[in-house]
Each structure stands twice: as structure tokens, then as C-alpha cells.
């Protein structure tokens, strides 16, 4: 009897430990309104709220980790965190290396921002963040591409004349246009929406988050969140 109780206790304990496993969410922290570092030094933005809500629905304990965009996929597959939630568009190239959940935002148009509206895109120099769908798109067009490590630098390059225009997600560029920069009429539809990235061997965790995203889509709370942060069109 005693061993039976002990056995049950051990089972309950290990089951409890299974639930208490911490899921580490990797993000960039430099891409407002998707993810950025707020005044208090914490990760904030659309994906912070989304990620916290998804973890609550999937009954997981989550922890946020900041990582450089350039090494965000290598660090995921090597197991330094468990998922990427960093405004990453679903593309075929990335899908070969990692697995994505269903998209949590629809494909967002990418827009151009320049110093004047009559800029010649094909003949000019276009800035984009390195290893993004926008950079790949410009390279495909055969235009002159100049890449930067952070979104901030791509915009700064247009301001100081190093590049003629910058191509990035429209929601991000909305936050930077002002007196000196204008958004062009032309926009591109790139990628298959933004989703969470997982290791290909981690199908179980991906399933949990996939279900949580579906439940947020079903009850309309995802649309509310998208509207609140103005990140993209709604579902």
C-alpha cells in the first residue's frame, strides 16, 4: 500500500513537472509595433501580448528571450529557446529549416518609404533588413539592394541619403513616416503571413500553439489584438 501511494505521488510529481516546463520564446525586440523594448527595459508590443495569451491558453509557463535577428534561426534549432515569435513571415526557404504554426496575422503588405514620392526604385538603391522577405524580393527584382542588421538602420539609411528607399512591413513603416519621409503608393504582397517558428522535431509544442492560435482566431480576440497594435489587416 505504501509503495502504491509513493508510486502515485511520484507519478503526480513527474506529471506536474511536465506541466511546469518553461517554454522559452525568442524574439528580436527591435520591431515596433510587433516587438520592442519598452521604457522599463522589458519586451513589449503585439507579439508580447499575443505570446502571453497563447501561453495562458496552452497552459504553459513562458519566458521571453531576446536574440539578434541574424542568429535567430540557428539558436532555435540548436535549442537555446523553443520558438521564434518575432514578426517572421512564413516563406518556403525558412520552412525547409524550421516549422511554422498557422499564421497569426494575414500577409501584410510591404511598403516603400523614401524622401520624396517620385523616387526611381529600379534605378536607385533600396534598403532592407538582412535575411528578410523584403531583402529577398529586392534581390529577385535585380535592383540594387543594401542590407542592414536592424530595421532602425534601414530607415536611417534613407534619411541620410545612403539609400533612396526602404522596403519593409507597412505596419513598421507607419511608425516612422513623418515630416521628412513619405510612403509610396506602390506596395508589395510578400510572404504567407506571420507565424511562430519551431524546430521541426518539436511537433508537439507546435500543435499546442497552433490550437491556441486557432482558439484566438475563433473567439475574435486575435482580431482585437491586431486592431489594438495596428500590425496588419484582420482575419
Amino acid at each position: 500500500m505504501k509503495s502504491l501511494i509513493l508510486g502515485t505521488a511520484a507519478l503526480a510529481l513527474t506529471a506536474g513537472m511536465g506541466l511546469a516546463d518553461t517554454v522559452r520564446l525568442g524574439t528580436e525586440g527591435a520591431y515596433a509595433p510587433w516587438n520592442f523594448v519598452n521604457d522599463a527595459g522589458e519586451i513589449d508590443g503585439f507579439e508580447r501580448e499575443l505570446g502571453d495569451e497563447l501561453c495562458k491558453r496552452a497552459e504553459l509557463t513562458c519566458e521571453w528571450v531576446k536574440n539578434d535577428w541574424d542568429s535567430i534561426i540557428p539558436n532555435l534549432v540548436s535549442g537555446n529557446y523553443d520558438t521564434i515569435i518575432a514578426g517572421m513571415s512564413i516563406t518556403d526557404e525558412r520552412d525547409e529549416v524550421i516549422d511554422f504554426t498557422q499564421p497569426y496575422t494575414p500577409p501584410d503588405p510591404s511598403a516603400y518609404v523614401a524622401q520624396s514620392a517620385d523616387v526611381d526604385l529600379a534605378g536607385g538603391v533600396i534598403a532592407a533588413q538582412a535575411t528578410t522577405i523584403q531583402a529577398a524580393f529586392i534581390a529577385e527584382q535585380g535592383w540594387t539592394l543594401v542590407e542592414f542588421a536592424t530595421p532602425e538602420e534601414t530607415v536611417a539609411a534613407v534619411r541620410n541619403g545612403e539609400a533612396d528607399a526602404v522596403l519593409a512591413d507597412k505596419s513598421f513603416l507607419d511608425t516612422v513616416v513623418g515630416d521628412d519621409l513619405v510612403m509610396l503608393e506602390k506596395s508589395e504582397s510578400l510572404g504567407g503571413g506571420v507565424g511562430m517558428g519551431f524546430r521541426e522535431s518539436d511537433a508537439e509544442l507546435r500543435g499546442k500553439f497552433d490550437a491556441a492560435i486557432q482558439s484566438m482566431k475563433d473567439d475574435g480576440s486575435l482580431n482585437e489584438l491586431i486592431a489594438k497594435w495596428e500590425v496588419s489587416s484582420q482575419w
Binding site: 527595459g41 528571450v65 531576446k66 536574440n67 534549432v77 535549442g79 532602425e152 521541426e200
Partner: protein
Amino acid sequence: MFSYCTDPSTLEGLSWLSCYLTTGKHVNLYISVFVVLTLLAITAPVALLFGFGAASAARSKFLPLRWFGKGYTSIVRGVPDIAFFLFFVIALDQAFEWMRHKVKCPDWDQPIRQGIDFVVCDAAKLPLSTSPQWVHETYGFFLAVLTFSIVFGAFAANVLYGAMRAVPRAQIETAEAYGMTHRQAFWRILVPQMWVYALPGLSNLWMVLIKSTPLLFLLGVEDIVYWARELGGTKTARFTDYPHPNWHVWYFAALLVFYLCFTKVSEVVLDRIMTRLTKGQATAAGEAQRKAAA
């Protein structure tokens, strides 16, 4: 931080600045200064130790040891830093986890390499995924120290190897004539005398090391350059209580002052060490010191 900081949009001038400079984000910047200084304080002696070990190995009479010493210095010096920091750290981390995996989960039946994924059992994760964030950060910090030490150790080894050869042969011969063994001559004659030849090269290395800390962010450690870039970026009123245009120039100017002061202090200290080491040495500077004293 201060009680009057609740609504920064009403503040102006110095009081605004005092609130701005004490936000949680800026505190992170100040902490990163200490992180960088700690890293340098630990890395420098460890790298010197690695360098000394490798230089002694490269002089060894035992062939495999000599190969090891020479191989280490040539290979590590030849690989670009950034490739080393991207590839080596991940490989090192995986090597640690692989060893723990073999010990802790002997009855694990799935392959560790699944495509490009690296999968070990939960108990072998380093640090455990349940560990608090500071454990992860400390672990990343020590990986950084180890990587920096290996890279700079290789350069230090080359400098020390040259310095050991620069000690006049006559000194060793005299030691041998006094009946010292090879080991005694090495520790009592060669090592105390080689530093004066090694110091110019080592001080160069120290200066390069001071400025290579931005590589830390590749390892997930947030250093001062990362925070200066993050804080200096344009901030719109939608996401912060302290909106400002692009202030990179101010933040980088502050970094410039920091690095210049640090370099100056290092130079003063290194100069003093040099004067001390020169004392009584059979070098031109040592000769000059003797004449000045006489």
C-alpha cells in the same frame, strides 16, 4: 525612478533628462557597462593563461604537445572572429549538452541530430529550460568568456612564443653553466625575463579585446554597444513616454568617451608595468634606466 516622473510629457529640461536617464532601459545600459568590465577582467587573465600554456607547449620537446601548441595558435588565429563566434559557441554549447545527454539519459532512443535540429533530453539541457533567466544569462556570459579566452589566447600564445625566443641565449647558457635543469632555467631565467619582450604585443591585444565586446551580442549577452544602438534609435510617442528623434550620435559619442578614457587608463597602467619590468633587464631601456640612476 523619481516621484515627479509619472507624466514625463509635462517635464522639460533637466528634470525630463533626469527621468529619461533613469528608466529601466537605461539601467540596463548601466548594468551592461559592468558586464563588459567583468568580462574583460575575467577574460584577460584566462586568455593569458591559455596563451602561456600554448606557447610553452609549442616549445616542448615532446612532439604531439608541440603540434597541439602550434596547431591551436595557427588555426584559431586564422579563423575570422565573427565566424568563430557564430559557429564555435553553438558547437561548444552542443558539445556540453551532448556529453550531459550521454551521462544523464543513457536509455534515450531518438537520434540527437534530426535533420539540422539538435535534440537532447530535457535533463541534459544546459541550462535547464526551467532555470530562471539569470542562469541562462550567466551561462551565456561564461560561454562568452571561454570563447574570448580561446581566441585571444591564441594571439597571446604567438606573442609569448616570440618573447620566449627573444630572451638572449647567453642567459640560458649561464643558467645551464650554474647547473640548473631545463625546467629550472625555464621558470627562473626565461619566464621572468620574457615579459619585457611580450608586453608591447600583449598591450596591443588588450586594446583590441576592449573594443571587441560588441561581438557579445552574437552570444545573446547585451553589451554597451547594443544598448547604445537600441536606446539611440528613433522613438515615437506611441511606444514610449520619452519620444525622441534619432539620438545615435549622442549615445555613440558617450561610448567614444568611455572607450577613450578606458584606453588612456590602460596606457598609463601598461606604461607603469613596462617601467617595472625593464628594471635590471639586458635591454636598451634597462640600460637607460641604470644610467639615469647612476
